[in-house]
């Protein structure tokens, strides 16, 4: 608790640097990552993230110090090189893009690890902390680093702001952008460069191994909550920043902890919550909607059965027994029992000693379902020329779907017919 207050009150200037740095890093990777995600280039982001490691190591070997500027340049060069190699392989051979990405990723990362191991065994005193590039160490961010990475991050956000509409059309319809005369190649190059930059900026906090997660996961999580690009960008940034700051807090309190894994755990939790609970797109809501639909169909079918029974013996006010209902229509008994109870609760049925009886509201609802069923059968036979003995199954589904407006149109189109293709009367109000 003490650590919590100390960290989030931002009184310690070191902590202020760490928090500010983390916010900039995660925000810039979330923003760029959103466009990478929409361009369906998530894998490319992963490859770049791994490919910056040899660059970092080479820069260190050359400079023999951890000068952040040099490290940035080194990371940038190999990150970029990896993209050129991927592009060259896919263009000039039969190797598919995903294979090329896998290839490049493992080769570059392998070389990076090799160099890193060498450096660590070289006994160079300046190398301590270089391994934090693997899994990230936000708490080790020095004011110097934050300044360098911060400038990059701000630059990157500014470019995205300027080219917002261009990146949008590039992700949605590249060919059309080309027709309009937009410099598609240059724009793609810019976006790729930004991706590399975002990775370079982010690795200090998150590390190369998990950097791709910081690029793509915030966007993927945000996509569940919205259909608007501007809101998606804001959400992705928020998710990224929350996980970044929390992660660096944890690595601040437990100094042995690398930041990256924690940041990724937290962003993954956010993504998981989005996956399950986001309105409309989340699994939870979809399942619930399906269940509601199934329930509605069952209820309408039960009321329809009461109406059909009433039609058969010209009495709608009579109580119907359990067996009568099951003979008229093949219900699953357990479902029928639940449905009857529910309809009673909702006031569409009443319980009597001999069974259940339709209320006025239940009668109207049952009648409407029967009416829609028969209107639809008629529509299919008249307009789509489907044989009358083939229309029943279809109508069984459609009767539950038709809205009152469609019902009105259907009636007018058919001219309020009296009977359906099987000569059953169509019940109007």
């Amino acid at each position: 608790m003490e650590a919590f207050v100390e960290f989030f009150s931002l009184r310690d200037p070191n902590i202020r640097y760490v928090v500010l740095g983390t916010i900039l890093l995660t925000a810039s990777s979330a923003v760029v990552g959103t466009f990478t995600f929409l361009q369906k280039k998530s894998l490319v982001g992963d490859a770049v993230a791994h490919a910056v490691l040899p660059g970092v190591c080479l820069a260190f070997l050359l400079a023999e110090s951890k000068n952040p500027l040099l490290l940035i340049v080194g990371a940038f060069v190999t990150g970029w090189l990896s993209l050129v190699v991927i592009d060259t392989i896919t263009r000039n051979s039969k190797i598919k893009e995903d294979t090329a990405i896998g290839l490049v990723l493992s080769v570059f990362f392998g070389v990076g690890i090799l160099l890193l191991t060498n450096i660590q065994h070289s006994g160079n005193a300046a190398q301590s902390g270089l391994d934090s590039f693997l899994f990230g160490k936000a708490a080790a961010l020095l004011p110097n680093d934050v300044r360098a990475f911060g400038i990059l991050a701000v630059l990157l956000l500014a470019v995205v702001g300027l080219l917002y509409k261009e990146f949008k059309i590039l992700a949605f319809d590249k060919n059309y952008a080309a027709i309009l005369g937009l410099p598609v190649r240059a724009l793609e190059l810019t976006l790729t460069t930004l991706t590399v930059l975002a990775v370079v900026v982010g690795i200090q906090a998150v590390g190369v191994v998990l950097m791709a997660a910081m690029l793509i996961t915030p966007a993927a999580a945000a996509r569940f909550w919205t259909d608007r690009l501007s809101i998606m960008l804001i959400l992705a940034t928020t998710f990224g920043v929350i996980s970044g700051v929390t992660g660096s807090f944890i690595s601040y309190t437990a100094t042995a902890m690398p930041t990256g894994p924690w940041v990724v755990v937290i962003i993954s939790i956010i993504a998981g919550i989005s996956f399950f609970f986001a309105p409309r797109k989340g699994i939870f809501f979809r399942v619930r909607r399906q269940m509601n639909n199934r329930r509605m169909i069952l209820d309408e079918n039960i009321l329809k059965t009461f109406f059909n029974l009433g039609e058969n013996d010209h009495s709608f006010k009579e109580a119907r027994s359990w067996d009568q209902l099951l003979v008229e229509r093949h219900f699953v008994p357990r479902r029928l029992r639940n449905g009857l109870a529910r309809l009673r609760r909702q006031g569409f049925l009443e319980r009597q000693s001999a069974g259940w009886v339709l209320t006025q509201a239940g009668f109207e609802k049952g009648k409407r379902t029967v009416r829609l069923h028969r209107l639809w059968e008629l529509y299919l036979t008249q307009y789509l020329r489907i044989a009358p003995d083939h229309v029943h199954e279809d109508a069984e589904t459609i009767e539950h779907v038709i809205t009152p407006e469609l019902e009105q149109k259907l009636q007018e189109k058919l001219g309020f017919p009296e009977v359906d293709p099987h000569q059953s009367e169509i019940p109007y109000r």
Binding site: F172, A178, I179
Partner: protein
């Protein structure tokens, strides 16, 4: 039967187009008069979309060239609009109907600039023309196929061009909408704009278009509808498979020959 015109709005000269060195269009040579409503007709896989894409530089030509308004495409982009097939994009994209139609204005806007009020008004007007003004704020992922088609049409209209290329604008739209759209296109042709439409319904060709291209890997015919839309020529375009041409295409691909002497072959 290939009829050429003076001062064409579009000239395609001896164009051959290949995918991975396999030619799908052979020696296309045609000219189109300004102010015509042109139907490109031919069986599936005839290369109708490819012809448009090649004219618009989306697919490189193995040989030959196209001139629009007597000029290279790069110099006249502002005057050329395109409506791709609906399936060419992923509609599960976070954008509204208005956003997409506004993209038609990006060419005129140039880099960095945001759409202005005037652009919004043009976009709304184009949506009104295609009967989609009520959907301006709707997210595109929630549209039906026919509605997506109309959004793409509105986007092409928003380009305010003189020469329009439309790839199957009637695919998946209902009859009433189709009638409204063709009325719109005819009106544009009357204002001396040229509209080139890939069309798959032979029944309505005579009624819709005053110029027809019959295409099946090669150009079977190009000319005024009444002269081109004959049984004989249709037979030639649709009937007897061009087995010989197909075979040669495959040979070319296997042998990795260039379809022609290298002339600006890219990729």
């Amino acid at each position: 039967m290939i009829k050429h015109v003076e001062n064409p709005v579009l000239e395609v000269h001896d164009l051959t187009v290949s995918y991975a060195r396999k030619p799908v269009l052979w020696d296309i040579d045609l000219t189109l008069p300004q102010g015509s409503l042109v139907g490109i007709v031919g069986p599936n896989g005839a290369g109708k979309s490819t012809l448009i894409k090649s004219i618009l530089d989306l697919v490189p030509a193995s040989s030959g060239y196209s001139k629009l308004f007597g000029d290279d495409l790069a110099n006249v982009r502002r005057r050329v609009a395109y409506m791709p097939q609906r399936e060419s994009v992923d509609w599960d994209f976070p954008a509204s109907v208005l956003d997409v139609v506004l993209m038609g204005r990006y060419g005129k806007l140039g880099l960095f600039k945001r759409p202005r009020k005037a652009d919004r008004e043009v976009a709304h007007e184009c949506l009104r023309k295609v009967g989609m003004e009520a959907f301006a704020k709707r997210q595109i992922s929630q549209l039906s196929g026919g509605q997506q088609q109309r959004v793409f049409l509105a986007r092409a209209l928003a380009q305010e061009a003189d020469l329009y290329f439309m790839d199957e604008p009637f695919a998946g739209v209902d009859a009433a909408t189709e009638k409204a759209i063709i009325g719109l296109l005819q009106e544009m042709a009357e204002q001396n704009k040229t509209v080139v439409v890939v069309h798959h319904d032979l029944q309505s060709v005579v009624q819709y278009f005053n110029w027809v291209l019959l295409l099946n890997m090669r150009l079977v015919a190009s000319g005024p509808t009444e002269q081109v839309f004959t049984n004989e020529l249709l037979q030639e375009a649709y009937g007897g498979k061009l087995t010989l041409l197909t075979e040669v295409s495959e040979l070319v691909q296997k042998g990795q020959f260039a379809a022609r002497e290298k002339q600006g072959y890219r990729g």
